[in-house]
């Protein structure tokens, strides 16, 4: 499952966004080949491209994904985010901060009993939706929560 996804991403990436990124001079071709890390996805500056890089385009909205994050974050450098997927058979979660320069924040693949849950702290440049893409049983689901970032940290 995991290996299939990797292979698939490599194949899809080579034809699409990687080529764009290489052409734009953002990436050196050798680095793309050397790393398993999803360089195309993490380097994407458009949300659409970033979503595609994890196969998250056209995901169905789901209420079974719970995103716990503050409504208002005074410090955009440290925003606690917790994602719980109550969808049976959750295989992976991808986390996006939609208005960040590079929207794809991180991805998590679960196996051997790991639950569809992660807790992390992220950086947010400005007010944005925090979006999760969950893969379960070959389907993709999504949910989002808006987090307001207070510029200047004055609070209120």
């Amino acid at each position: 499952m995991n290996q299939f996804r990797r292979t698939f991403l490599k194949g899809a990436g080579a034809a699409g966004s990687v080529a764009v990124a290489v052409a734009a001079g953002l990436l050196k071709p050798t680095e793309v080949l050397a790393a398993e890390w999803n360089k195309a996805g993490f380097g994407a500056t458009k949300l659409d491209e970033a979503l595609k890089s994890v196969g998250g385009a056209g995901a169905a909205e789901s209420k079974d994904i719970v995103i716990k994050a503050p409504d208002i974050a005074e410090n955009g450098a440290v925003v606690p985010v917790e994602i719980t997927s109550n969808i049976a058979g959750t295989a992976s979660i991808a986390l996006f901060i939609e208005t960040n320069l590079n929207p794809l924040c991180s991805t998590y693949d679960f196996s051997n009993g790991a639950l569809g849950y992660i807790s992390t702290r992220v950086k947010m440049a400005k007010t944005s939706k925090v979006r999760a893409i969950v893969k379960a049983g070959g389907k993709t689901y999504t949910a989002a929560k808006e987090v307001k970032v207070t510029i200047g940290g004055c609070g209120g």
């Binding site: 590079n102 991805t107 790991a114 639950l115 992660i118 807790s119 702290r121």
Partner: protein
Amino acid sequence: MADPMKIRATMQGDVADVKVLMSHIMETGQRKDPKTGQLIPAHFIQEVNASVNGKVVLDSQWSQAISKNPFLGFKVKGAKAGDKVVVNWTDNKGDKNTAEAVIG
């Protein structure tokens, strides 16, 4: 060599709750050095893996958007008290770090 990680794993019912605190600068590559005006090169953790008793449970990829000194929490069903949890990371400069803990 990077500073050590803090890792704690506790059983909550039949689920192991693992919390990891890593020590890393997580430089985005978008910040400028105020003295020179030059961009500070990106330096951040790219891959994080976790295993319980040698079996991979979490395979994670990160960007520079994860906060400095990253925190990671995850849960594993079916793990038992006494099982060994190992977490390791690799950053974009090839630095690595590993930490392990026994589930308590």
